[in-house]
């Protein structure tokens, strides 16, 4: 039978994969990619809850996903531009070495 559970499980798995990626990887680009994975996991939940919502006209879940996709694209563009700019100055993309603001 078609239920909500597999979508929620898929979303939880993707979110945690992205979280582990953010915590363990040492490259700013892969960090950004992991953040994209987490955003996508949230999007799956939005679409799944839209599909299983009892109202037949409500499309707010889909609208939210479209907004999230647009903002995630902007975030990826700005983030990668920052990474390239940082690489030009420091010759590294390892976020651990960028510790000059450490208190």
């Amino acid at each position: 039978m078609h239920t909500l559970t597999p979508y929620l499980l898929l979303s939880a798995g993707l979110f945690c994969t992205g979280l582990i990626g953010v915590m363990l990887r040492r490259n700013a680009i892969i960090l950004l990619a992991s953040i994209e994975l987490m955003l996508n996991a949230a999007n799956i939940n939005f679409v799944a809850f839209w599909r299983f919502h009892p109202s037949s006209e409500d499309v707010s879940g889909l609208v939210m996903v479209l907004f999230t996709i647009a903002i995630a694209a902007a975030e990826a563009a700005v983030g990668l531009a920052l990474v390239i700019s940082i690489y030009r100055h420091y010759r590294t993309t390892n976020p651990d070495t960028l510790n000059e603001l450490k208190g």
């Binding site: 078609h2 909500l4 597999p6 945690c16 994969t17 990626g21 363990l24 647009a70 902007a74 420091y90």
Partner: protein, 183 residues
């Protein structure tokens, strides 16, 4: 359980795990693309066609190319070797990730919502989505348009090479004052 969805979910999860495990960064990005494709298929399986194709165009088309080009312009392939193998760091990361997964799983399996069944008379047309975007959500959409424009102009400015060009004196001053770090 739905067989198609199971296959899609397994491919998506496996490629996501591969994307954060592989050492070669280009392979990571390619696995990430496969994962995005699986997510787009999930949207299609949920009969959200417009969002599915938006996912294909934005993520598989644009974001992946952007990430690949960023890799090309920074290091291209090899990740930094782990100079200091720190088990504490790995334990903390894995513990936090798996702990979050556990909390989410407990939440999912204790929820009553997971047994709801979808409505057959769902209005799945793009028509309803477009009406809603231009009616209820018109202001957020305009704000989003401004945000996208500003973000893309800002990204182009950030990534622009800081070369001293004629007629651009302030960049020259700042680059001579600070100078690139040489290590």
């Amino acid at each position: 359980m739905n067989l198609l969805l199971t296959i899609i979910a397994l491919i998506t999860l496996a490629s996501a795990v591969a994307a954060i495990c592989l050492r070669n960064l280009v392979h990571c990005v390619l696995c990430l693309t496969l994962s995005f494709a699986g997510i787009a298929l999930t949207y299609l399986e949920l009969s959200a066609e417009f969002v599915g194709f938006a996912q294909v165009m934005v993520y598989i088309g644009a974001v992946t190319i952007l990430v690949l080009f960023a890799l090309l312009m920074t290091r291209g392939g090899k990740e930094l070797h782990l100079r200091s193998w720190n088990p504490g760091h790995w334990l903390t990361g894995l513990g936090a990730g798996l702990g979050t997964l556990g909390v989410l799983l407990v939440g999912i399996f204790h929820s009553k919502l997971r047994e709801v069944t979808p409505l057959d008379t769902k209005d799945e047309s793009v028509h309803a989505l477009g009406n809603s975007l231009l009616d209820t959500y018109v202001l957020p959409m305009e704000a989003l348009a401004v945000l996208l424009t500003v973000a893309l102009i800002g990204a182009a400015l950030l990534a622009m090479p800081e070369r001293s060009r004629p007629g651009q004196t302030f960049r020259k001053v700042s680059s001579t004052k600070e100078g690139p770090v040489k290590d």
